[in-house]
Point group: C2
Chain length 357, copies 2
């Protein structure tokens, strides 16, 4: 029996709706496997700005530090997107959380549920067998370097930066994971142009000497963006910098049929944070249409990685698999062949998952 304290941080938009389902699933797991999970909630993003003026209030950060794991929703609001000069922005809360909690490794497993082979825009025969684990570096790069304006505001700049240590620690996590999988690692950079990529490649090359059993391939990010779609089965573990990882994992979501199916784990020095890779999606917020499965799968990752509860984690994945096999879908993963009566909203598909746990 595990006793754990879980912080729910729904954030903005559909973050609220999907984490509500994720939390119910955690509750059900606790009951079934006889664990004791306690919960608290905290604010981040636009909702935190509205309530306190701060996208990551000190109280939220404190609660994160004092919990055993965080189930996270999403941040963002169209209001700021269309106002490039806004000084306080929801995303600052997310980035500060990553930095303050030392969440330097973002794991994004990309794997298609059999039933969704037809839901992707990519041909089924290309997707079959695709199973990729991304390691995106999450606390460095152009996200956290100096940025600003100069020449009387006429020029804007952002500095991309990596230290050897930063590359080593994410690289090591990726090599370790490759060892437990198919022993293939692709390191993605733009070393033909960027100095930070050249340092990245140097460090991965050094690490490779320590992992002679892992086959390493170096790719330029433009080539990877192409090969991911052309031949997704070529990849096992992929390791890359913060910005490249942001772009490539969103692209790779199409391999899994929909963004609504993808969870991620951000880990590092302290509390782990688990979240869907989709955003706040204000266009469908409050309509009960959002696919909660990425949040439910985030809960599964949380149980596995932060609590070491493998069986519990697998029970969740299997419940989702069964729900899909029964033919239930949310809008985003339905296709022409889906019986319209099987297309459910956020809560209804959540109930189907809960029934199977």
């Amino acid at each position: 029996m595990a006793k754990k304290h879980i912080l729910i941080v729904p954030g903005d938009g559909i973050g609220q709706e999907v984490t509500a389902v994720g939390k119910k699933v955690l509750d059900k797991i606790a009951a079934r496997f006889n664990h004791e999970f306690t919960y608290d909630e905290a604010l981040i993003g636009h909702v935190a700005i509205e309530a306190t003026g701060d996208p990551l209030p000190a109280e939220s950060l404190e609660k994160m530090r004092n919990s055993d794991a965080v189930l996270f929703g999403a941040v963002g609001h169209p209001k700021y997107d269309n106002d490039p000069s806004a000084k306080v922005r929801p995303e600052q809360g997310l980035l500060k959380m990553r930095k303050e909690l030392g969440l330097y490794a973002n794991l994004r497993p990309i794997k298609l549920f059999d039933e969704l082979l037809g839901a992707s825009s990519i041909k089924p025969e290309i997707l079959k067998g695709a199973d990729i684990l991304f390691f995106r570096e999450l606390t460095g790069d152009i996200y956290f370097g100096e940025k600003g304006r100069k020449n009387n505001g006429d020029t804007a700049y952002d500095v991309a930066e990596y230290s050897r240590y930063e590359v080593q620690r994410i690289g090591r996590k990726a090599f370790d994971a490759a060892r437990t999988r198919r022993k293939k690692l692709v390191s993605v950079d733009k070393a033909n142009v960027l100095e930070s990529s050249r340092l990245w490649r140097e460090e991965i090359q050094k690490l490779a000497l320590e992992y002679p059993d892992v086959e390493v391939e170096y790719q330029f990010v433009d080539a990877t963006a192409m090969i991911l779609i052309k031949e997704p089965t070529r990849f096992d573990v992929v390791v890359t910098a913060n910005l490249f990882g942001d772009i490539l994992t969103d692209e790779a979501s199409q391999i899994a049929g929909s963004m609504g199916m993808l969870a991620s784990a951000s880990i590092g020095d302290g509390t782990g944070v688990y979240e869907p890779i989709h955003g706040s999606a204000h266009d469908i917020t409050g309509k009960g249409l959002a696919n909660p499965m990425a949040s439910v799968l985030s809960a599964a990752l949380l149980l596995d990685i932060s609590f070491g509860l493998k069986e519990e984690s697998e029970a969740i994945i299997s419940a989702i698999d069964q729900v899909l096999k029964k033919g239930f879908r949310t809008r985003d993963i339905a296709d022409k062949t889906t019986d319209p009566s099987m297309i459910l909203g956020t809560d209804a598909i959540g109930e189907e998952i809960l029934k199977l746990l």
Copy 2:
């Protein structure tokens, strides 16, 4: 009758093989339409380093400046890719050429030939009707900002930078093009994180006021990477920064079935440069396997954009269309249904194109 001087710059790897076909096609066009094209050649990239120690010898640059247009191949060599500490690199030649010639706008039309609807890894029903024109900024961003090492070589950095003027001039080209097409422009940035993207968005917003007839959408680069695969028909004209454009256009090549079918035009203050978007591809160099159609289509863009020879340009595109309709393929665009005897090498498919001109 046009009198023009064309510089052929094959560069590295398959650049040599494919530009040879591109040049033959230009020759044939000159004969058929009664133009006078004269030619010269110049070195760049690895071959230039080997011959002179310099990836862009002054003589090559001089020749470029004095020609009416440049037909370019590719640069790059695996030797440097695996040696992140190499000081002289083939790509420096390419970047210097872009900067010195003021080639700030890179146009990449992405359009599928009907016959290749099956050659892509993306489903035909998703691709049908896709027709995108990318404007990639080519002389700014993290490609040309300050870069180096600090903290005793322990940290590497690259500065991404945009001035208002740089965004305006590429933005204007994109808006102008949208006006002649379906009047839809997507501007891609990462304004939720990057200061240079916020300035980018500010300038595009200002330009939008001058083009009320063009519908503008702002997307974050991670979302674009996803939507390109999910719903490619949503795009008409896309404008973006140098690095994002590099990644997104390679990804988008899958919409056209293969990279081997995509040409690009780099234009700006002086001589225009026309080149395939594929690279030097040393794995197939010298084997006569490369698809020369991207180089031939680059020649078509050259005639259209630099010389204003629309009919000649269309004759080339139509010849390629007919070659494909006859069932001829190169390896990269063949699929399971292709009769093996119809899969031709570089020169043989070049001959088929020439026959139809």
